[in-house]
Amino acid sequence: MGEISPLHYIILSTIVFGIGIAGVLSRKNIFTVLMSVELMLNAANLAFLTFARSMADPVGQLFVLFVIAIAAAEVSVGLALVIALYRMKEHIDLDGFAKLKG
C-alpha cells in the first residue's frame, strides 16, 4: 500500500458508489438499473478490501467473496424476473411496471 493511502481508495469507492446511485435513480432501462446496482456492490467491495489491507485483517477479504456470491444469486433471480416481466408486458420500461403504485 506504500505510496497510496487508504483515503484514496475510499474516495474512489465513494465516487463509484455515487455513480451507481445516480444510475439507479435516473435510468428507466431495467438492465442499466441492475448494472448500476452491481457498481454499488463493487464499490462496497473496494471499501472492504481497503480496510482489510490497512488493518491487516483477512476477514474483510472473506466478506468480499461472500458479497460476490450473493451478487451472483441476486443477478440470476433478478434476470429471471426481468424475463417473466417481459413475457407479460412486452417491454422493459420501468415506468410501465407501476401496477402496485399507491
Partner: protein
Amino acid sequence: MFETILFYSLAGILVVSSLLVITRINPIASALSLVLGFVALAGLYAMLSAGFAAVIQILVYAGGIMVLILFVIMILNMSMEELLPLRPNRIVVALVLLIVMGGAWMPLAVFISSGMSGAAHPVVDGFGGIVEMSKLIFGRFLFPFEMLSLILLTALVGAVVLAKRKL
C-alpha cells in the same frame, strides 16, 4: 512512483467506464464497459494485496455474471425504439451527488486521515492468498460458507421457476 501511476490509471479507467455504464443508451454497450470497469477493479484489488479476490472478481464477475446479463439482453432482443435514452432527473442526480460526495466522504476523510493514515500495518507473507482464505473459510466461517451454498441453490431453483413458461 510506479504504484501511483498504476493507481491513478486504474482509477481513471474505473470512473470513466462507470460513467459510460450509466450514460449509454444501448445496454450491450453498458455491459461491455462494466466488464472493463471490473477488470480495472480487479487490478485495484491486486494492489491491495488481495490476490484471491482479484482472481474471483475476474472469474465470477467479468466471466460469469456479465455473461449472464449479456445473455439475457440478447434473449429479449429489443428494438432500438424500445431503448430509452437517459432522462436525467437533474434534481435527483444533483441531490444524490451532493449527499454522497459531501455528506459521506468528508467525515470519512477526517476519520481516516486522523486515525489510520500513514503506513499501513505490515502484512504476513501470503496475505490475501488462497491458503490464508481457506484457513478462514474452513475454520471460523464454515457455517456461513455452507449457508452460502444453500443460498446459491435457492437462487438456482428460484430462477428456473420464475423464468420457465410452464412447469
